[in-house]
Amino acid sequence: MNITKKYIHLFIFCIFCSALSGCATVPSVARPLEIQHTYSASFDKTWDAVLEAARASQGKIVVEDKASGLIVYSVLDKGSKAKIYMQVLIKPSVADKGSNLVYIFPHDPKGYCSGSIQDEFFKDLKKILES
């Protein structure tokens, strides 16, 4: 009799535990986007490298203003075939003198687009700067 009671209690406890586990959710933490990288190259060298990266991706330069450190070029996304405007901002780093910060902010027709396009850009830029 006692053994069956024990089993019933264990069964109820198991149900209670499984019900509770359903309530536990992993909180989604907001994290900054990977939009900037620091390169230990001069401003001129970084500027030229960004222009070369734009040419290598068959991009069309829309805007370039060296005084502002901004280059905007359009490319066609290989996957979606959508036109993407790559907005690249180059700024001298305050924390690390002699280095430059490169920000990228791509826009597609629906607005800001994130994903592999930034990673590919930074990979290409690193390759150009190291060559």
């Binding site: 069309k60 203003d65 502002s68 901004l70 901002l89």
Partner: protein, 175 residues
Amino acid sequence: MISREIFSSILVLSLISCSGCATTKARTEVKSEMVRLYEKDFEGLKVPDAEKIKEAGLYKSFPYTSYDDVWNAAIIVLIQHGIITHISKDSGIMIGIGDPPLVLFMQRDREPGVYLSSLYSFYPKKLYKIVPEDMPDFARNVTANLGKSANACAIFFDKLATQVYTKDKWKYLYK
């Protein structure tokens, strides 16, 4: 008599079928100025004069800062708003094509000041034309955007002030 009835029914049928063909050719696609610019990567975008931006725009000054600080902060905020299609630090003008498109003029004064206006103020009539569905938001719902412009300017100034006085804080860039 019977042949006349047959003839008239054939005539009616042929007229109906012909009228079906006539509609397709009459419709032509009307492109708005903004769609035309988007398709040509904003080549030929007319940049308004500084004086005209001052007349049409809202103004905000940024005390205890430098021209460069405000200019750099404005770039950061504008590239989050849309696509920068014109920028010249010499003239102090930049244009960001978002929803709505904004044009900004920065005045070099004792304390830097920014004049901000919707680009629609300078392109009024052409923007009302029909726009295809697959076009970006800034090219669609133009009538609605006209009402949004003042609100968009206020939001922009708010973000710009935050960016200017907190330096490298990109508070809107979280996913």
